[in-house]
Subunit: 372 residues, 4 copies
C-alpha cells in the first residue's frame, strides 16, 4: 500500500468513539492504514445525523444493522463524510490522492455486484456499508473506506469544492431528501408537499421540494426549525404539538387542501399517520425516518390507503450515481443551503450534540468540522 | 321517462335486503322506475363480494362509506352486476335499451367531473357510487343506476356476451385484481408474485398475474381455494395456518426467494405484515382487502419499508375506462376463469352465502344468477 | 338561453378574421348567441400562437385539423383565451356568469366521454375542439364555447386573477410547455435541459424547467429571445445560426456535456435532429412544434435512437385538469413570467403580428388585449 | 492464467471469420488464451442475428460501432452466445470453471463503472462490448471474454440448462425483445401490440408479448414466419407486401382498431412509419431494428407524433441483470420458444446463412450449434 499522508500526518488522532449506548468518548486512536483496494479519506466535515443518534440510543433497527454489517462497540461514529483522498491501496483506479469526495453513507459493500446495485439501487446493496456502523466512521481526522465500497466514492465538482458542510450532509440527510422528493415522490412543480419533521433531512427536503417548484408546508414542534424552513423556500408552516391530534387538520389547513405528497422524516408513528391522512386520494407518501425503541410499528389505517389509493414508499439515503443530479441542483446559482446547518462543532462536542438532539433543541444539523 | 320493460315485466320482484347488520331477508319490492339521466338494468348475474360481507357484518369502513354516500338500511345489497339496459331516462345517450353492460362497482357519482375522475381515477371519485351501498344494488331482477353514474356503464364486447358470471365479477373483484396486478403493481413477465388470500379477488389476481407471465404463489388457509389457484395458473401454493407465524418463511420458500410483488387481498393485519416481509428490497406490495372491526390498522414495520425501499399501494376496484384492457385480456382464447366462481346461487340464498363466508368455507365467489 | 351580456353589450364587434390563407382582416361581426349547454366568454386576452401562424400560412397539419373539426374560412382566429363567462345556456352547471376562466386550447369536444379524455388526456380528445379552428376563436370581444367543450373551462384561482396575459398563454403555449417539461419529460431538479426555439412555448418551457430546478440551456437565433430566456432562469444560451451544422456541438458545449432532456418547440427538422443528437444515452426528447409546408417529416436517425435508447414523446397543449398544478406553480411568489410576453396588441394588429412572426422578429408572445 | 480446457482441448479450432464485408470464411485459428480478469467460454450455441448480417453487409452503424470499440477485420463473428466457462484468469470471482453462462451481447466494457451501467443500463455502457465486433465472437468453439465484461456473464438457472438454442438467442434477439416489450413498451395484459418484422427479434417479441397477456398482431412478408408467430401466441397476422402502402390499414384492420403498442424490428423506414401510424393516440412505439446503407433515417411524421402524443423509444439488447426476470419467464412450464429457431447449422454454414438472410428466406433464427 501507499503510505497514508506525506503531509506530516501524525500516527494518532482524536476520535469520537461510541463506547456504550448513550456514551461517546473522545479517544486517541491510530490513524488507519489502507490495504489493497481501499482508500483513506482525510475528513473535512462530518454531519451528526438523526440515525447516529438512534445508534447512540441503541434503537433496534440500527443496532441490528450494525451487527449484521460486522460492526461492534467501541466504534468511531459518523457517516456524513466529505473529505480528500490521501491514500489508496493497490488496484484502486476510480479515485486518486487529492480527489475531494463525498462518501455516500449508503455505499455498495461489494463493488456494486448485487442485483440491487446493478439496478441502480446501490443504496440498498445486499452488502451495504455505512461508515460508523460497519467500520469506523468520520468523527476523526482520517477514515478508511473498505475495498468493496471505494467504487461508490463520489467526486465533488469544481463548483462545490468550498461547500464542505453542505457536502457532508449530502452523504446521508440531503441525499435521503433528494431520494425522497425526486426519486420516490417524483414531486412536480406546483404540487403541494408536506414535510413532517424539519431536522437535517426535513430541512433538506423542504429546500429540494422548493427547488423542484412545489408549494411546501413544513411541519415541526420547533419554531426555529420552521423559520429555517421558510428561508429554504417553504410556502407555509405548521407549528405542531407533541402528540398532536390536530396534525392532519393543521396540514390540510396550511396547504389549502389535502396535499399531493407527504414526506415524513420523523419515524414517529403518530406523526406518520397524521401526515398520511392529509394526503389526497391518489397521492404519495414517502417514509424516511427511523423508529425508536418501543414505537417500532406505524399503525397504518390500511382501509384509508385502499380507499384513497395512496402510494407509500420508503427512501434510504441515495445511490452514489444519483449524486450527479443532486450536485447539478446544488450548483445552481440561487441555492443556499446554509439554513440546513445548525452549528459547526468539534469532534469533542459529539456527545453533547446527541444530548441536545434528545431534547430536539437543534434546528438543523450539527456538523463536525474540527478534528483536533 | 321510458317505460321499463315491455317484456311483460311485473311490478314487483324479490330482493335480498339487508334489514339489519348480519341479517339479509328476501322481500318483495317494487321494480324501480328511472328518472331523467338514469338507467334501469335487468340483472343477469351479481357476485357476492367479500365487501358485501363486510357490510353485512357492519365493519366500520363500509358502514361509514354507506352513510357517507347516502345509503341506509334496509337496502338491497349486491354490487358486482352485469345485465341488460332495459330502460333509460331522458338525456341518456351513452347507452340504450338492449345494451349488455357491466356496472363498475366503483362508479363516478358525478358524471366524471371531479379531479380524480378527470385524471382517469373514477374509481376514487369524490362522489363515488357503489350499488348496494349508496342506493339499491343487484340482488334483485332490476337495478336502477343513478344519473351521475350512467356515464360509467361499460358495454360488453361481442366475444364475452355469454360469460355472465365472469362479467359480474369484473364489476368489483376481478376489476380490483386487474387494478392491483396491472395498474398498481405493474407486474412483469417472469416476476415472482405472492397473492395472499385467494377468494374472489385473490383467485382473479392469480389468474391475471399468470396471464401477465408472472410466477405466482397463492397463499390461503383453504386447500380447495389453492387447488383452484393452480388451475388458474399459480406456479406454487402455500397452505397457511390461521395466525401463521411462519407465513413469511413459507412464501419465500415456495417462491425460491423473496418475491418481487405481494398482493394482499385479506385485509388481515398479520397476513399483510407476513406478506410484506416476503417482498424483496425495491419490491412492491398492493393492499386491496378491507379490515374487520377490532383489527382496523396494520402494524407496519416502517423501518423495514424504509430500509428495503418497498412501495405499498392501495387498489380500489377499477375505473370504468380500464375495462377495455381487462376485456381485451378476457377475450384471449386461452383464458378460463371458471375456477374463480365457487357456486351459482339464487337471490334466496344470499344470507346463507354470507354465513358460509364467515367460516371461509367457500373457495371463490358465490354468484347470484337466479332472481325469481 | 340567457341573454348574453347585460353590461350594455352591443350587438356587433370587431373581429380578426382569417379570410384566406395569409390574410387576416378585421370585420364587424355579430356577437355570438349561446344555445343549450354553451357558454359565452368575454375575452380579456388572447395570445398569438405559432400554430395560429401555421394556420395563417396554410401549413398542412393545421389546415387538415381545421377541416376535420368542422371549421372553414372565413373564421375568427385566436385560441389562447382568458376571459369572463358572461352567459351560459341551459344545462350548464360547471361554470356561471362572472367566473374568470381559461379556455384550454385543447379542449374536449364531447364532454370528456372518449377513452382518451377518460384516461386524463382530454387534450387529445377524439373530438378535440380548438377555438379559432373548429369554431370562431378569441380575436374578438366575445367567444362562444360549444356545448361539448364547456366541461373543460378552467376557473382561475384568486391569486392569479390579475395576470391576464400570463393566463392567456397558459391556454396553449405555456400549457404545452408544462405538458412537455413536467408530464412528458418529467424533468428532475439538477438535470440538464435544452430548449430549442424560445418563442412563446420555448420561453415558457425555460421558465417551467427552471422552476423545476433544472439547468436550462436556451437555443435560438434571436438574441433578444435568449436574453429573455436568461431572465426566466436559463443557466446558459446558444446563439444558433439558421441551418446550423454545429447545433449539437454548441448545445453540448453550453451544457457542459450531453443533456438529459431536449425540448424542441420549433418543428424544424434540422433543429430537431440537432437537439436529439445532443441528448445523452437513456435521455428524453419532447417534440411540441409543428412543421411547415415542404418540411413535413423529421429525418430521424433511428440507429442513434436505438443505440442510445432515447425516448421521444409528443406534447400537445395541456389537459384541462392539469391546470390545477400549473396554477399552483404560477401562484408561487417568486415566479415572474412577464418576459414570455413580447408585446400587447390590439385586435387590429393581428395581421401585422403574423408578418413579424414570419421574420421571427418577435421575442416571445404577442398577446391581443385590446378588442375595440 | 489457468489452463483452458483439461478436456483434451486442441490448440486450434475452425472459426467463421469475416474477412471482408460480404465474405465469411472458415479458418483454423488458435484457441484463445485468457489473461488476468478474463474468462474463456466453450460455446454451445451462437445465434445468427440480423445485426451480424448488417455487419457482414457493411451497414454504417455497425461498422462504425466495430471501429469505435476497437475491432477490425478479419474478425470471428457471432454475438448470441451461450456456453460453459472453461477457464478464468486471475482475479475473476463472479464465475468459475463449469458455470453455464449466457454472454449478453450488450455487455459492460468497464465492469459497470460508467453512469449508464450504474443506473441499470449496462446495455448502453459507455464502453460497450459486443462479441464479434470489439473482439472475436462466438462462431468458434472457444471465445474469450475481456476483463471489463466478465462482470456481466449471466449464470443459467437449473431449469434452463438444456435449452441451448433458446439461451443463445437471449444473448441478443430475445433479450432485445424482452427489453422492447417489457422494459420500454411496458405492455399490459389485454393490450393490442403489433410486431413488425418477425425474424429472430420479432418472433421473440411476439412470444414475450403473448406471455405478457397481450393481443399480438404479427406483421411480415414471409408467410412461414407468420405461421411461427401464431404458434408463439399471435392472435392475428398481417401478410405485408414489400413497400406496402396499405401497411397501416392492414394492421388496424387485423387488430380491430389502432394498436396500443407497435414494436418495429425491421429498421426499414417505410415499415416504421407504417407501424407508427397504426398506434393509437397516447400509445407507444419501440424501435429495435437497425438500418441499411442508403436508408439511414426514418422520415418521422412529427406532427402526428405531437398530435397523437405518441411515445417512441429505442431498445438495444438487454442489460445483464434483467436476465433474472427473463429467465423467470422462460422457466414457466408452458413456454415453448422452439418456433423462434429456424435451423441449427454448423460453423461452416454461416456465409450461406447470411446469403439466405439477404433474401429474407429464413423464418426465425439460424443458430450455430456445431463447431467442428
Amino acid at each position: 500500500m501507499k503510505k497514508a499522508g506525506g503531509r506530516g500526518m501524525s500516527n494518532r488522532m482524536p476520535a469520537a468513539v461510541l463506547v456504550e449506548f448513550g456514551k461517546v468518548e473522545v479517544r486517541e486512536v491510530p490513524v488507519p492504514q489502507v490495504g489493497a483496494g481501499e482508500a483513506l479519506v482525510e475528513v473535512e466535515a462530518c454531519g451528526v445525523c438523526r440515525s447516529d443518534w438512534h445508534l447512540w440510543r441503541g434503537d433496534p433497527s440500527l443496532v441490528m444493522y450494525m451487527e449484521w454489517s460486522g460492526g461492534k462497540l467501541p466504534i468511531i461514529m459518523g457517516h456524513e463524510v466529505v473529505g480528500t483522498v490521501v491514500a489508496v491501496g493497490n488496484g484502486v483506479n476510480g479515485v486518486q490522492e487529492g480527489d475531494k469526495v463525498v462518501v455516500p453513507a449508503s455505499s455498495t459493500g461489494d463493488s456494486r455486484n448485487c442485483l440491487f446495485c446493478r439496478n441502480g439501487l446501490s443504496n440498498i446493496c445486499e452488502h451495504l456499508w455505512i461508515p460508523g456502523f460497519g467500520t469506523d466512521g468520520g468523527y476523526a481526522r482520517y477514515m478508511r473506506v473498505p475495498a468493496g465500497s471505494v467504487a461508490d466514492l463520489v467526486k465533488v465538482p469544481e463548483a462545490l469544492q468550498d461547500k464542505s458542510s453542505w457536502l457532508a450532509i449530502t452523504g446521508c440527510g440531503m441525499g435521503t431528501a433528494f431520494n425522497a422528493v425526486v426519486d420516490k415522490a417524483q414531486v412536480q412543480p406546483g404540487e403541494k408537499v408536506a414535510v413532517t419533521g424539519v431536522g437535517g433531512v426535513g430541512l433538506s427536503a423542504v429546500a429540494i421540494a422548493a427547488q423542484a417548484g412545489a408549494q411546501v408546508i413544513a411541519v415541526d414542534v420547533n419554531s426555529e426549525a420552521l423559520e429555517r424552513a421558510k428561508n429554504l423556500g417553504a410556502a407555509g408552516t405548521v407549528q405542531a404539538e407533541r402528540e398532536d391530534p390536530q396534525l392532519t387538520d393543521k396540514i390540510v389547513e396550511a396547504a389549502g387542501g389535502p396535499v399531493d405528497v407527504a414526506i415524513d422524516t420523523t419515524g414517529n408513528p403518530q406523526v406518520g399517520v397524521g401526515a398520511l391522512l392529509a394526503v389526497r386520494p391518489g397521492g404519495r407518501m414517502v417514509l424516511s425516518g427511523l423508529m425508536v425503541k418501543g414505537a417500532e410499528t406505524l399503525p397504518l389505517p390500511a382501509d384509508a390507503v385502499v380507499a384513497r389509493e395512496v402510494t407509500l414508499r420508503g427512501a434510504l439515503m441515495l445511490a452514489a450515481q444519483r449524486y450527479v443530479t443532486l450536485f447539478g441542483m446544488l450548483s445552481r446559482g440561487d441555492v443556499n443551503l446554509d439554513p440546513v446547518i445548525y452549528r459547526e462543532i468539534s469532534v469533542h462536542q459529539v456527545q453533547e450534540a446527541f444530548q441536545a438532539m434528545s431534547e430536539f433543541e437543534n434546528a438543523g444539523r450539527f456538523v463536525v468540522t474540527s478534528f483536533d
